[in-house]
Subunit: 394 residues, 2 copies
């Protein structure tokens, strides 16, 4: 039967990363492909103890909850926001099924066929999929290592009147880029001037290897009117809880809550209650320090292997945080066609192509250093460096 799906489904694309993941889970392949945090540091005792507290609080903890989420957790998040310099309130805060749902709900209330979203290029591929699924036109703003170019951004705000700007300004996915303070401030000014909203996606901000502070763009939005800030507990606590949040202008959050009510009534209230106890009773800050230290070690191991490659042929930068390294190979490298060869040799990565808005650079790829153990990073990178070196010398 022809199921005559809606027009919207023509924009659907399965995630290339997920497709690769499903293949490589079957073999003896060391994968640097997924954007997974390390299982090794999951604070399972703290998580278990938090759930015990949920059940000890009685049967009503298992009942339906509010669409906006468990209020005490929304309150606890205010402390985090204040520390980051973001002015928020419980009413301006919505809990979601991961920050992926924030991207979807915000798109749902903002976008219709033909609307424009401005992004970096390359950028988070699952965000691109969402924007396009609503029929939006994604336009890339030119940029450099300090963020979007303000002149091009202004020009594109003026010409395209975008519905919003989407950015990952701190340890970005895939490039591990950090926006400069100047560019952050300038973005807010331009948002005010051209009446454009920005969704600041910050899943990696806490995974900071430096002593520098990178203030969220939302902290420069003193009116609290134009920047939505979203983050998640997936990278700092555990992904299986699927809990993210967004904070932003009341009117926008209220509309997103209405959309969420239709979408799924509310996210798991048991998980949200457990997270509240984790935030109350567990030293999350020192846990994050551990993650920073350990992920830094993993990154340096990966870096040392990459140093074996010819720097004339492979360009990359040491990341200052996050979970990814982004490599641009020689012009002749086709990272997608080389993936088969890599997998045959027991190692996987994600080709850069799906992250691009415009013409993709076929010679780019992304490596994740957070998920694999140091030993597996050594093993996998040894394999990868061999494959890359052979490729280049062919």
């Amino acid at each position: 039967m022809d199921y005559s799906f809606s027009e919207q489904t023509k924009h659907f694309k399965s995630s290339a990363v997920r497709d690769i993941l499903s293949v490589i889970q079957q073999g003896n392949v060391i994968s640097f492909a997924g954007g997974l945090p390390s299982d090794d540091f999951f604070p399972i005792e703290a998580v278990q103890s938090a759930y015990e507290k949920v059940f000890a609080s009685g049967r009503s903890s298992l009942q339906y909850g509010l669409t906006e989420g468990f209020t005490p957790l929304r309150e606890a998040i205010q402390t985090v926001m204040t520390k980051k310099g973001i002015t928020s309130t419980v009413e301006k805060t919505l809990l979601t099924t991961g920050s992926q749902q924030v991207i979807d709900l915000f798109s749902r209330i903002m976008l219709a066929e033909g609307d424009v979203v401005l992004t970096e290029d390359p950028t988070y591929l699952a965000a691109l999929q969402v924007f396009r699924s609503y029929g939006a036109k994604v336009i890339a703003v030119k940029g450099d290592e300090n963020g979007m170019d303000p002149h091009d951004l202004e020009e594109k705000m003026r010409v395209y009147q975008p519905k919003f700007v989407y950015i990952v300004p701190t340890f970005s996915n895939p490039e591990a880029k950090i926006w400069s303070t100047e560019r952050r401030q300038k973005l807010v000014e331009l948002c005010y001037q051209y009446h454009v909203l920005t969704l600041e996606d910050d899943p990696y901000g806490e995974l900071n290897f430096t002593n520098d502070t990178f203030e969220p763009i939302a902290s420069f939005d003193e009116k609290g009117s134009h920047i939505l800030y979203t983050s998640t507990f997936s990278k700092t606590v555990v992904p299986g809880l699927r809990t993210g949040w967004v904070t932003g202008p009341d009117e926008v959050i209220a509309m997103m809550s209405q959309a969420k009510q239709m979408t799924d009534l509310h996210s798991s209230s048991i998980d949200q209650q457990a997270l509240f106890y984790i935030m109350r009773d567990f030293d999350l800050q020192s846990h994050i320090e551990t993650l920073r230290k350990e992920y830094y070690i993993r990154m340096t191991i990966m870096r040392d292997f990459l140093n074996k490659l010819d720097r004339g042929l492979f360009k990359w930068k040491e990341p200052k945080g996050g979970m990814f390294m982004w490599i641009e190979g020689d012009e002749k490298l086709d990272a997608t066609s080389l993936l088969g060869e890599a997998v045959k040799n027991g190692v996987a990565y994600v080709p850069g192509t799906p992250f691009y808005v415009n013409e993709p650079k076929l010679n780019t790829f992304r490596l994740n250093f957070s998920h694999s153990t140091p030993d597996n990073i050594k093993l996998g990178m040894d394999r990868l460096v061999s494959v890359l070196t052979r490729q280049v010398t062919v």
Copy 2:
């Protein structure tokens, strides 16, 4: 600032039930408004023990999972489906954040502005909100106590070429209606003939007060090509887990999975793993027997109070299952304007109006008998019968 939300948001409406709930939670009001199961029977020990098993299985249980959901739970659901006579497979089964998300994802892949959905009238109001949020036109099919009228259904399939039919055929919300076997079979035949899909929403099927079996409509779809069946653990285990599922044609489920991947990557995998252990180790069947018995007792208490009303002025039927009673008062009754008076007297219900597709019957309202304790049902119904009697005699 004018946030220029998308056109779609013009169709958004907050749920009247939820708005009432948020008001009455503040007072000493006994509420028969919400569609809540009873906290009293939540199997909290079984739930707690299941989470302990999740954590005992190790850190990897807290990692990201598959969009389709935790495979062993999808396998366990096959046993339930087989018992109901529904031919399904793991691949045809998607886990969601409650069955509300099934309604949303299915609408998302099927509906565009102007598309037609056929429903009963009245029907589940949060489904109507979803369909309309996608710009669909909802057309009501005429019906009686046995389900949709087959002639009107056929006529409307022919004339409107709907994208799908949406029904709650067993202990429906709000009317507690049960479709006859004949009507169930006829619907499948018409779906085949006119190439129309049906979404069968069955949250209440297990809450059966009789010894009769009501076979799901999906069990008559021998081709497995036209009927999607959705249910949830919210009414049989606990709502806070937010776990529902849908089973249907491979191609449709695959498309819904793609939509889900964009929406939230996946629902809580910790909750899904806990549910797997509950299904494996807990006697869910005998727990459901308890719910049947206890909800039946609560319903009879409510019924006995309704029997005090003038049967010439108030029409209602004793439900054979589910969680609701549906009452049609005298023509002069305006259930919406009377609600304020009821709340002042310490009792709440949901006016029937938002459940209607066409012209609402203002004199209807819905009572939930599952959530309140027997004592509170007595207290609340005493108040309600007074308010209703006074109203009628004014």
